[in-house]
Symmetry: C2
């Protein structure tokens, strides 16, 4: 694909830095201008050679860039789009990397009035423990999946460019609506996190908590692993995707209440039927038939 | 410790067969008489040399045995105790291996009127995939934990004998009340299973289930692993320990509702506080500080 003249990297952290490294290695960019809220981060990115120039503002990083990647915490999306809005040339490809998509699109729409035609919301399904530019890895996205959620206003050539770019970084690209994306991840990732957090919170609040934790084993370990997730990241995801998560929670709650009713009245049959559905579905599922890199 | 003259093994399956093998290897028994509901199983156990004699009834297996192990599904406990009640000599050590204890004790009490003074309810925390005598392993209990839940009527020497026996099989022995046992396992094992079953059941019932499962990753895999558990085993455990499980479920439900309320009203602070408690507790927990063999 055609090389980009300049990448404007908004957010010089682990996600953005990894993208910059991969783009450069693929020979897809001539120059990278980086901006972070904290000048120290931006300077650090420059010292590490991940960006060629440290911009003093998001606006400055976007001016003259034909590719812009917004890699900031979801909660900071509005602020940065507002900051660079006037510097964005209409045919520059703009992408974000947020784990939720409907909220990002709504935020950008409010700021721009009409959504930019070359804005392609993206969710690369990749991550690692730790944050900060020093955690950036050239292969963070290699062999991972990237989900693009273009809107009705997104130009075909912007979608084609975004797809070609991510494919050139050796990722598998999926396209779906933002609603589909948010619904899927509310179901398979966000709700399980909510349930694991709630379960541990319930255990921790009990007088016997220490005794419980002392006796807990492998089943507990695996079921609760995701409850160790980053506090702010998950608060933001929950708030950003609240509608879809609440929808999924209502569905799980119905199943929980069916089990509770069966237990309260010691009804063996409905209890067994529900367990059987779950056991059969879970034993029929394999991550190999699924994505292996979602974190 | 003193060798037992005869083990009466009620239930020639994976759990009971493994106990028989281990007891024999430890040189703690002269003779093993086995009984299973299905004569084929009992004969199979004899052919494999795990039992010396195949009894035609539970009563026959118990007559003349100074050690009796009941290793049948929790739901069959009453039936077998009733069957051998009249053949039991009062100073024979009787143990079961059920995952729940209050219900077993209540069942036996109903059958015997007064609990046998040499009945020591036991829960060896060990298991493996698969059932049946051919799955029996001499080391199934080695280095595992065994929880004894004697009652007020249990004689001290019966408890001492049971403890010495399990220690001779290289297990770590804990003693607690049946109520403590059932409360602990409702919290760290039974409730997580219930939540995982309910979650998968909720996913499976949706039109988009296949799409969800296709996009699910490692977080989903670990959170739901226990939802693949055996249907009848878990139905029995849930019914047997329903009161403790319902108590724990009510506590988790309160935490879930706190998160739901915070989401509905987009309240960042209470949401973050709850996630933080869970994340800190989970990251501070390690299975190495805990039992490593609970399955």
């Amino acid at each position: 694909m055609k090389k980009f003249k300049q990448l404007g990297l908004i957010g010089c952290g682990m996600m953005g830095g990894s993208f910059a490294k991969a783009l450069r290695r693929a020979g897809l960019v001539e120059r990278i201008v980086g901006y972070s809220k904290s000048p120290t981060n931006t300077e650090h990115a420059k010292r590490l050679g991940i960006v060629d120039e440290a911009a003093a503002s998001a606006l400055q990083a976007v001016m003259g860039s034909d590719l812009i990647l917004v890699a900031v915490p979801v909660s900071a999306t509005g602020e940065v789009f507002k900051a660079f809005r006037l510097g964005l040339s209409k045919d520059s490809l703009v992408m974000d990397v947020g784990s939720t998509k409907q909220d990002v699109i709504a935020t950008v729409e409010v700021i721009f009035g009409e959504l930019p035609t070359h804005f392609v919301p993206a969710h690369p399904i990749a991550g690692k423990a730790g944050a900060g530019i020093e955690e950036a890895e050239v292969d963070l996205y290699t062999d991972r999946r990237v989900i693009l959620t273009p809107t009705a206003r997104t130009h075909e050539d912007a979608i084609a460019k975004a797809r070609a770019l991510w494919q050139a970084l050796d990722t598998q690209v999926f396209t779906m609506t933002a609603a589909q994306h948010d619904g899927i991840f509310a179901a398979v990732s966000h709700l399980p996190h909510l349930l694991a957090f709630a379960y541990i919170h319930g255990i921790a609040g009990q007088a016997d908590a220490q005794q419980f934790l002392h006796m807990a084993g492998p089943g507990f370990r695996d079921f609760t692993r995701i409850a160790g997730g980053d506090v702010d990241v998950w608060r933001d995801i929950f708030l950003a995707n609240r509608n879809e998560i609440l929808k999924q929670l209502a569905i799980t709650r119905t199943s929980i209440e069916q089990m509770e009713k069966a237990l309260q009245s010691s009804q063996s049959k409905p209890l067994r039927d529900l367990i059987e559905v779950a056991s059969v579905v879970r034993n029929g599922w394999s991550i190999n038939k699924s994505m292996t890199q979602h974190v």
